[in-house]
Amino acid sequence: MSLLLSSVTPDALIQFGGRLHPLLLHMPIGLFAAVVLVEVAAIVRRKPLDQSMRVTLVWMTALSAAMAMTSGLLLGREDSYGGDVLQTHKLLGIGVAVGAVLVAICAMKPALRGIYALLLIATTAAMIPAGHLGGTMTHGEDFLTAPFASKNPAPDAQENRAGDESQRSLFATTVAPVIHDKCLACHNAARHKGGLSMETPDGILAGAEAGPIIVPGDAASSEMIIRLRLPIEDDGHMPPKSKPQPTEAEIAAIEHWINKGAEMSSQDVLTPVNASATRSAPTTSAPELRPPSQEAIAALRAAQVHVERVDPASGLLWIDCAAAPILDDAQAQLLLEPLRDFIADLSLAGTHTGDGILTLVAKMPNLRSLNISRTACSPAGLQLLKGHASIEDLRLTQTALDDSVIDTLAALPALKRVFLWSSGISTDAAGRLSAANLDLLVDVGASAKAEPLETEGAIALSGDAPLPGAAPTIATLAPANALCPVSGKAVNAKFVIVHEGTIIGFCCQDCAAKFWAEPQKYPVPK
């Protein structure tokens, strides 16, 4: 209980009052409508309205409008709101509240009936834009008109978009629509929750109150991705649990964009999804944006080929044919072709494939690791891989290659490691490759066995080491000197001190004290 009370601070109360605004604002709307309706009804029915009823109604209206205005002003103090929309909404809201009070005052005097009528019409009219702007801040700009927006742009419009797809940035085509649909409702210029407005690229770059939301080139460290990837139950998860969630592919697209450097120009405008042709646009340059074909994956699995995502964030795949040794070039070609763009890690080791499949392998834009050990690949086949821009890891063990392969290997710019054990390539040739590129690890399977650097001598066991932590004995404190450095008399082993690592003996306690006071004055005799 005391905990509860202690959290009731004036600030909290103000915030609480402010947050009642969405509730209170509906009362003046309804009451204004009621006043207008009864007045119109009275005119139509030619029956004068009962004055006491009119006064009650208009004062209820005035009171509720004042309450809505007060709560609105309190809510506006919260950081997450701001901008032109808020300013206009605020002015109109104050106007409506003041108007409502004036209406009520005028209503009390039958002489002012004309002014009353004018004021009532004017205030009700002002209430409409005020309410609309309020709704814009909560639900987003196009909330009201969205149902009328065309879901499918005209075919020729689509063609045009597809035509200039190459000119449109990654941001504009893939990221902006997601932000528009899933983030902008709360993080806009008018309602920048958490101090974040994502309405413009500059706003996205500026980040939130707590710091930047994007680390270009590093999606994993970017607050935006961290929040998107938190479990949905987590309070920090964005968008909040109750709001529409982005799909896995959309998150992956944002990650991809951040990893590529999060480029956007200040001309980029955030457009809604249905205004963009992204989803139907060809995206060969960035396959992560489009999930790999499930049919192609199912076909591979049916052929006993293992297919696994290399990580959940990208659509890239690890494909391993270890369980499908009967796979030959033609079958492999058929099965792998549809997934060409997605293969990052491919093992054909031990299958019946050979040079045939390497034509396709050469065209895999995201391939990083290739294992063609124990296959029938030949030097001529390997030449097809020449210039492949992304292969980092290449396993060629137990093959029938020859030294001519070295030229191909030297022409793989991204290559970091190559395994050549039992590949028919001579150690000399491998050495040349290694010498030409010192960053390249060339493993020819030479025995890695190392001889010892040193070996301890014959073992002699004894029990004479002092126990750890035992009190030093006289024997262990034998002084280095025979004569007392102060008096010159013979040293008494009872009086010893340790000074700068040397054990020094004295004839008596007084001499030890004198030495301790001015050690430099008394050279220690050997």
Binding site: E308, A323, I459
Partner: protein, 488 residues
């Protein structure tokens, strides 16, 4: 009896409570029965989905594991944890300042004194990626691979006896009943070769004092039982009855399995018992293993030099050498978790003679396994673990002489090694005191090790969970920290 009631009697208790809310509808009669049957189909589908592996949570460093468990606990003092100072403390009593009142096992607690037994084995210094590492003359082959290996000297465990010790190391808990490490990996990542089990167990008999090795060490606990380790036999055929009986051909077998499968599906729909699914899966696995296992164990494709590298016993089934070679072949074929057990390290008495024989059996094959994996480019994504369940004491159990001693169980510090799969190569982690009794630097417990190994496999140990008895279980229970110093 009402058909609905009869139906419930067939359910297992777990299913019963899982279905309790639907049960209320069931009591309302035939109308509800229709919805119940619909639910059955939905349930079967959801069971399938729940059986799909979770997959990696981030990009892994390792794709598979070869875990060599040294059953009985090898002596860190005679193999890895070099304490030359102890040579001058021969037969001294273990100081109280070191023991700090720690418990002894029942086997040594009534000894009159605890004489320090220095290792009688010579150590040599091998180059690694730090300033070198001292290793025993018992393991020259392994030592020569020091540049690939990460030695951890600061492991500690909670258990002081074998059964709870191995259970803790294998399942993250001293009490039996939890899934084994391999079962968790199989559950989390699934198989990378549908023709072989994702978790395979190979056992080698040792030469020293041997302890019981229960099948539950590789059991699946409460996980679906297809994730339990599949033990290949160490003598004769690795798997029995691989060949169809004469007169039965492959097509007949297929027909039979299809029919049995149909019957099992009917039973599944009737009883909703998830283990029926497992049974169907196991029949299919056995059918595929009829083809894959003969190929796996046929060593004719191995060249002589490779066989020689593993040592003279490589062709004798069940030896550690044969199992190391088999482990490499399994790794090549995509098996996720390969668990080797080497028994016989429990040297309470006659440690020098027992450990000589043990090391002679494991040293060359395990070094050959590392070499073989490395030259094929497989070491980078294969995580190799070599560990016992605890360490051994610095003091002698039984009579101490200059040539003979024994060592009791010691959970407070011990050594193990890791290699490949994203582990930092050629380093030593952690330090013990001069007696190899207490850890003085960088203690690592079993949960930390599990968390780190799962991390290398691309899984967050806090998110690899299975709901059982109303709570989410993890390999690391509520413990475990990923240790970056172990990883590249």
């Amino acid at each position: 009896m009402h058909p609905v009631e009869e139906h419930y009697l067939d359910l297992t208790r777990r299913r019963f409570f899982g279905q309790a809310t639907r049960g209320m509808c069931g009591a309302m009669g035939t109308l509800a029965l229709g919805s119940l049957l619909k639910n059955t189909a939905a349930l079967a589908a959801s069971t399938d989905a729940s059986r799909a592996p979770m997959g990696v949570q981030f990009r892994p460093k390792a794709k598979r594991v070869i875990y060599m468990h040294m059953e009985g606990a090898p002596s860190q003092l005679d193999l890895f944890d070099y304490k030359p100072g102890l040579r001058h403390r021969y037969n001294q009593d273990l100081p109280d300042s070191i023991r700090q009142g720690q418990r002894f096992t029942g086997m040594t607690s009534d000894q009159a004194r605890f004489p320090v037994a220095p290792s009688i084995f010579r150590f040599s210094k091998y180059a690694n990626n730090q300033d070198g590492v001292w290793l025993s003359e018992l393991i020259p082959h392994t030592a020569s691979m020091a540049k690939e290996i990460c030695f951890i000297h600061s492991m500690h465990t909670e258990a002081i006896n074998h059964e709870p010790g191995i259970t803790f190391f294998q399942t993250g808990n001293q009490q039996p009943g939890r899934p084994s490490f391999g079962a968790w990996v199989s559950y989390g990542l699934g198989s990378a070769n549908d023709n072989l089990p994702s978790f395979v167990v190979l056992i080698s008999q040792g030469f020293g004092n041997t302890q019981a090795l229960s099948a539950r060490f590789w059991g699946s606990g409460f996980l679906p039982s297809e994730h339990q380790g599949c033990k290949l036999r160490s003598a004769g055929d690795p798997v029995l009855f691989l060949k169809d009986p004469s007169g039965v051909d492959r097509a007949d077998r297929r027909k039979m399995l299809d029919l049995v499968g149909d019957l099992n599906h009917l039973e599944m729909e009737r009883s909703l018992d998830p283990e029926v699914k497992t049974r169907i899966a196991q029949y299919e696995m056995a059918y595929r293993m009829q083809m894959s296992v003969p190929e796996l164990t046929d060593l004719s494709s191995e060249d002589e030099a490779t066989l020689a590298m593993y040592g003279p016993e490589v062709k004798k089934p069940g030896t550690f050498a044969a199992n190391c070679l088999l482990a490499r072949r399994l790794a090549e074929r995509g098996v996720r978790f390969i668990q080797l057990y080497m028994r016989g390290w429990d040297a309470h008495n006659n440690l020098p003679s027992e450990i000589r024989k043990q090391c002679a059996a494991v040293d060359q094959p395990q070094a050959a396994l590392l070499t073989d994996l490395k030259r094929r480019g497989l070491l980078d994504d294969t995580l190799v673990i070599w560990a016992g369940e605890f360490g051994r004491t610095v003091y002698s159990q039984g009579t101490l002489s200059e040539t003979n001693y024994g060592r009791d169980h010691h959970p407070r510090c011990f050594s193990l090694w890791l290699a490949g799969g994203g582990v930092k190569p050629g380093v030593t982690i952690g330090k013990t005191d001069d007696y190899s009794y207490n850890i003085v630097e960088n203690p690592i417990d079993v949960h930390d090790l599990h968390a780190t190994l799962l991390h290398l496999l691309g899984m967050n140990h806090e998110r690899l969970v299975y709901r059982h008895e109303g709570r989410d279980f993890r390999l690391t229970d509520v413990f475990g920290k990923v240790r970056p110093e172990i990883m590249i």
